[in-house]
Amino acid sequence: MAYVNVSRDPERNFKNGYLATSLVGMGTTLVTFAKQVFGLEESATVQWPEVEYQYSERFKGAHFLTKRPDGRVRCTACFLCATNCPAQCITIVAGESSDKGVEKFPVRFEIDILRCVFCGYCEEACPVDAIRMGPEYSMAGLAEQKWVYTKDHLLERDAVKRKLGEKQVSKKDENTKHETVESSLPGIHADHSHSGH
């Protein structure tokens, strides 16, 4: 019967052994340490949470809802994100807007963030740039915390406001009706002051 002798590693010698490699590694650590102590090299470690790491603008973190220029929610409750969501974590309840120009808006918009897989399909499906994955990445919390993000939370999120500011207002064309278009459903008002959002 043929056999292979595996009793001895042909690569095995003192140079590849445990002691030598440990010492080489320790040497590298000490050299880097010395360089950083004497200010010859910058440290790659970020002192989180005192210092925040700056991801690129395209980082896809926690969701947020974009706004119209007047501050109301951009979403038209078309359900495409909810349809596209592989984790089925988006719940929308659509309602009739009292604003003549808008017609349909989400009464409720909720994301069960524990079910979300952060695939970004919701953002991709959205025809009106209403939902985006934002710059927020630290989402740790306690078990008793509310893990279903409501519409208000998705709209008015401190982390998003701080990092994006004006960028939370979508720059896409407004999907509102033209002012001259006539509508006659009860509960629809022509001026925006009755918007009720």
């Binding site: 038209t76 078309c78 349809t83 089925q88 349909k104 025809p127 278009v181 459903l185």
Partner: protein, 493 residues
């Protein structure tokens, strides 16, 4: 001259009666010719110019819906020039069509969307702005009209003129300013208005009842029979299976029963199916009990009295199978037939007919129930305004099979307060009416969407119901309760 003609469509021969159109021949053959304005239940308008086909020997493309089929005609529906014609016709239809699919309830079942995905898919070459027209118009208690989305197929105008004969709709102005609308100071007010939302190939007419409630692609449909009246229209019942929530009904074509339509009263038949409108647990002497406990009490009560001391009050809203099973079980358990009463609403005018579909008999299975009584040898007594027959029957146990569709019994409250005066009353039904809670035993039952069975319509046509998964899994139908009871008891017969 023979009254049949044979033509070939895409090299397949088909024989149709003389005078048929190419469209009808194609439908018979199973070849789909894209169309908007043609509807099998309405007259031919030929206005959308979308159903173009190539007919050999004719210099230009012809519309399939209004070209009569003739002997030896050779029709082609798949050639390149036909496809090209569809593409350009679609481009014209979309010139002023707004892109509000995200907020349009029709999205998902819109013919314009479907054909765009099938034969369109191009970049529009139109450079001018779209014409703006009135949107979200209140045109009646049931419908919302969006004139921008309209493609002027005139199906709704023809429906109003030909089916309901109400003629409230018209097309006003010309060219790109042409809009659909109601005549001045007129509203759509008839019992068939939701059909307009159905036949509208786009989202110009949408139902207020369904407005913004659910996207259609979340809904699964079941073919069943409407329980709203004795016509027994064939319907599709739409349910969101994830939410276990019913949203609407739509008519299904059946030339022998309802044609293509159904009434607005029938459209409300989803409301009593949802959990919020139903009771979920039995109530025994005012206390909530488990289903086995309730059944046990019922079995004891039935067995403790003789057959002639039991009164059974039926409503004609159960299936043939349920009536048979209840009567058989009682016969087995008590050794004889109980006294049978039929409860009808005081206001019911059984012989009424609105001329289109809806009948005064608001019970779906009057005929089936009477058929079962005949085969079982049961003589029933009618309870309408007069309950003295029941009161003087000397019954010690009264089994009341209440109506599933309570809107068909407007005087139900009064009738129930009469029925509750009986000695020991058992109520089967999902009613939340107050006197029901005073009954000795209240049992929830399955609704028409959750059971299989047969309804026989006024004309004697037997139609099958199709069962969906129940909203409350513990709730059974009366035949299941009674067969369970009769299985666990010793036969007296």
């Amino acid at each position: 001259m023979s009254n049949q003609v044979t033509l070939t469509i895409n090299n397949q021969a088909i024989t149709v009666p003389a005078g048929s159109t190419i469209m009808e021949a194609a439908q018979k053959l199973g070849v789909t010719v894209p169309h908007f304005c043609w509807h099998p239940g309405l007259s031919i308008a030929g206005v959308c110019r979308f159903c173009m086909v190539r007919v050999e020997g004719m210099p230009k493309l012809q519309i399939a819906c209004n070209t009569p089929a003739s002997e030896g005609m050779k029709v082609d529906t798949v050639s390149e020039d036909v496809k090209d014609a569809h593409k350009w016709a679609l481009e014209f239809h979309l010139i002023n069509h707004p892109l509000d699919c995200p907020i349009c309830d029709q999205a998902g079942e819109c013919e314009l969307q479907n054909y765009y995905m099938k034969v369109g898919k191009y970049q529009s070459q139109m450079e001018d702005d779209k014409v703006l027209k009135p949107k979200a118009l209140d045109v009646g208690d049931t419908l919302v009209l969006d004139t921008e989305r309209c493609i002027l197929c005139s199906r709704c105008v023809r429906f109003e003129d030909e089916v309901t004969k109400t003629s409230t709709l018209g097309i006003f102005n010309r060219g790109d300013q042409a809009t659909i609308g109601t005549y001045k100071d007129k509203k759509i007010k008839h019992n068939y208005s939701y059909n307009l939302a159905d036949i509208c190939p786009v989202g110009a007419f949408t139902a207020k009842d369904f407005r913004f409630k659910c996207r259609v692609w979340f809904l699964k449909e079941t073919s069943t029979v409407c329980p709203g009246c004795s016509t027994g229209c064939n319907v599709s019942l739409f349910q969101n299976r994830n939410q276990r929530e019913y949203y609407r009904l739509k008519p299904k074509h059946n030339p022998d029963v309802n044609g293509y339509w159904m009434c607005d009263t029938g459209r409300t038949m989803y409301e009593h199916l949802n959990a919020s409108a139903r009771i979920a647990s039995p109530l025994l002497s005012g206390e909530q009990v488990s289903f086995p406990a309730a059944l046990h009490a019922l079995g004891d009560a039935v067995q403790s009295v003789s057959a002639e001391k039991i009164a059974v009050v039926f409503t004609a809203q159960y299936t043939n199978e349920e009536y048979t099973s209840v009567l058989h079980a009682l016969k087995k358990m008590t050794g004889g037939l109980p006294k049978v009463f039929v409860w009808r609403d005081e206001s019911e005018k059984e012989e009424d007919f609105d001329g289109i579909l809806m009948r005064g008999d608001r019970n779906p299975n009057t005929r089936g129930m009477n058929d079962v009584f005949k085969t079982e040898g049961v003589k029933s007594v009618l309870l309408k305004a007069d309950y003295s027959a029941l009161a003087s029957s000397g019954a010690e146990l009264t089994l009341i099979f209440g109506p599933e569709v309570e809107s068909a019994y407007p005087n139900m409250q009064a009738a129930l307060s009469r029925l509750v005066e009986m000695k020991k009353t058992v109520f089967f039904g999902n009613g939340m009416q107050e006197p029901v809670n005073k009954m000795w035993l209240r049992m929830p039952v399955k609704v028409f969407a959750e059971k299989s069975g047969t309804f026989v319509n006024f004309n004697g046509i037997a139609q099958k119901l199709k069962a969906n998964a129940p909203v409350f899994p513990a709730v059974k139908c009366v035949s299941e309760y009674f067969s369970q009871l009769s299985e666990t008891t010793q036969s007296k017969a």
